[in-house]
């Protein structure tokens, strides 16, 4: 496991999401309305669509394609058409920068 630098914390607005690619994988990084940061796998578990194109409302990320919804804090799928949970990753802030922990 190692901590990977994502970018500046203020590059992401509150209640928003951005894409982060690393080591051939893609992730979605979230900033909640209360300024907590989270990370999940980037692609929706329904079809392969990037969640960074989706809409963040409170603690929910809504997939842009078919409105599948996940709680991005836990990765929990919140109902049809999505039924497989998203994988989540630990996130921390260090000197104003977002770091996520990935297995090597």
């Amino acid at each position: 496991m190692s901590w990977i630098l994502v970018g500046a914390a203020d590059a992401l607005e509150a209640e928003d999401v951005m894409r982060f690619d690393h080591g051939g994988r893609t992730f979605a990084i979230y900033r909640s309305p209360s300024d907590a940061y989270f990370a999940t796998d980037g692609l929706c578990t329904h079809e392969q669509v990037h969640l960074a194109d989706g809409l963040v409302m409170d603690h929910i990320i809504e997939c842009p394609k078919h409105n599948g919804r996940f709680d991005y804090r836990t990765g929990e799928a919140k109902g049809a058409p999505v039924c497989v949970n998203l994988k989540t990753y630990p996130v921390k802030l260090e000197a104003g920068r977002i770091m996520i922990e990935l297995d090597d």
Binding site: V49, H50, D53, L55, C63, P64, N67, A80, P81
Partner: protein
């Protein structure tokens, strides 16, 4: 003491499958019977014309209620079981295999059937329709690279299959009687973006063209397009709409009108019988007539609501209409009630991306629709929220693609 009669669901598609799962999720402990004519457990139909046809997705990946999950939930699922008739006085179903089943309450979720080509030879193996997994398997076998596919009907099914067949390396021609594609329920500017995308992919589109006759030859099919025009094809997909499978309801004397008439609680004219999904016609919330929706979300949500109402919840269906179509990298989504609007505001984002906002006289958003790459979905979702909240955004700001829609919602 005789065991209580079960709750019975006829049709194991999106609405029926969802209803069965919901009955258990709601805590109902009694017997549930799910009767489906198809051999497969409940699956989602949208991939049939898209990823399943191209071979990218397997049936297992979009089966939302597996045989094991149904068994685990204690749902008595009977595939390959066709219901022939409803005997309402006896509260019994008659089955094609000769059996009979008693019901306490009944949900009809029989969906729709593809409208057949009038006068076509039913046994011609090169003429296809697309409604079920079995249909998709047959069509897929015909879509070999280089195969000439003719598609009758420039609607959703026809265009989705056109995109999939192009990906498989077929030569595709779409034949449409109307002067534009998708003219039945997609606004012209959005349909034009999709038409351009199909043309760029190499699909031949023949508008204002009808199919007069089909002749089977040794080489394939010879289509008579009128005015001396002919089109040779290896396969013909007929995508000219779908008709509600209301025949059980009609024969049982339930109220029907191009679909099973239900009230807002999805109850039919018999209080022990409910209907959900593509087969039913719901009172239009505006008070005029009925709406007949053919969309995944509607079937899913109505299935869930009908289950609660079978248990006596008495809830009304108030979900906003919403559907999508995926073609190439483009997504089309339409939400709300565009037809009721007084005026339309266009948010032109790019050559291949546009959203229309349909407003009433007071400027409230009643409906919205858009076409574009997947990322457009975010703005379309915000548009849906505007409809749900009866928002009255500044039309000039909505029309300006540099203004974020989220800020306009607040």
């Amino acid at each position: 003491m005789a065991a209580a009669a079960p709750l019975v669901i006829v049709g194991a598609g999106q609405a029926g499958g969802r209803a069965a799962l919901t009955l258990r999720a709601e805590g109902y402990r009694g017997a549930i019977l799910l009767l489906g004519e198809e051999p497969d457990p409940p699956y989602e139909r949208p991939p049939l014309s898209k990823g399943f046809l191209t071979g990218e997705r397997s049936l297992a990946s979009f089966t939302f209620a597996t045989t094991e999950a149904l068994a685990e939930a204690g749902i008595d699922f009977r595939p390959g079981c066709r219901v022939l008739a409803i005997d309402r006085p006896a509260k019994q179903l008659r089955l094609a295999d000769g059996g009979a089943i008693a019901y306490a309450k009944l949900l009809l979720a029989t969906g729709r059937a593809a409208r057949p080509l009038p006068g076509a030879q039913a046994d011609e193996p090169r003429i296809f329709c697309l409604r079920t997994r079995a249909d998709a398997d047959q069509l897929r076998a015909a879509l070999r690279p280089g195969a000439r596919l003719a598609i009758l009907g420039g609607g959703f099914i026809g265009l989705e299959v056109a995109a999939s067949a192009m990906a498989l390396g077929c030569a595709v021609t779409v034949i449409e009687l109307a002067p534009a594609l998708l003219s039945r329920c997609v606004p012209a500017p959005l349909a034009a973006i999709l038409a351009a995308r199909h043309q760029a992919a190499g699909v031949r589109i023949l508008l204002g063209t009808g199919l007069q006759a089909v002749m089977a030859t040794e080489q394939g099919l010879s289509l008579d397009l009128g005015g001396g025009r002919r089109l040779e094809a290896d396969a013909l997909l007929v995508g000219i709409g779908a008709v509600p499978r209301a025949e059980l309801a009609v024969a049982a004397g339930l109220a029907t009108d191009q679909g099973i008439l239900v009230d807002a609680r999805l109850q039919t004219s018999d209080p022990d019988i409910f209907a959900a999904g593509d087969v039913c016609a719901l009172p239009d919330p505006s008070g005029n007539g009925h709406v007949r929706l053919e969309a995944w979300q509607n079937a899913d949500r109505q299935g869930a609501l009908a289950a609660r109402n079978l248990l006596g919840a008495g809830l009304s269906y108030v979900e906003l209409p919403w559907f999508w179509s995926d073609q190439y990298e483009l997504t089309l989504q339409i939400a709300g009630w565009p037809a009721r609007a007084a005026r339309t505001v266009t948010r032109a984002i790019a050559a291949d991306a546009c959203i229309l906002f349909h407003l009433d006289e007071q400027g409230r958003v009643l409906g919205a629709g858009g076409v574009g790459p997947a990322g457009l979905g975010r703005d379309l979702r915000l548009a849906q929220l505007m409809i749900e909240r009866a928002a009255r955004p500044d039309p000039a700001a909505v029309a300006d693609p540099t203004r974020g829609l989220k800020t306009l919602l607040r």
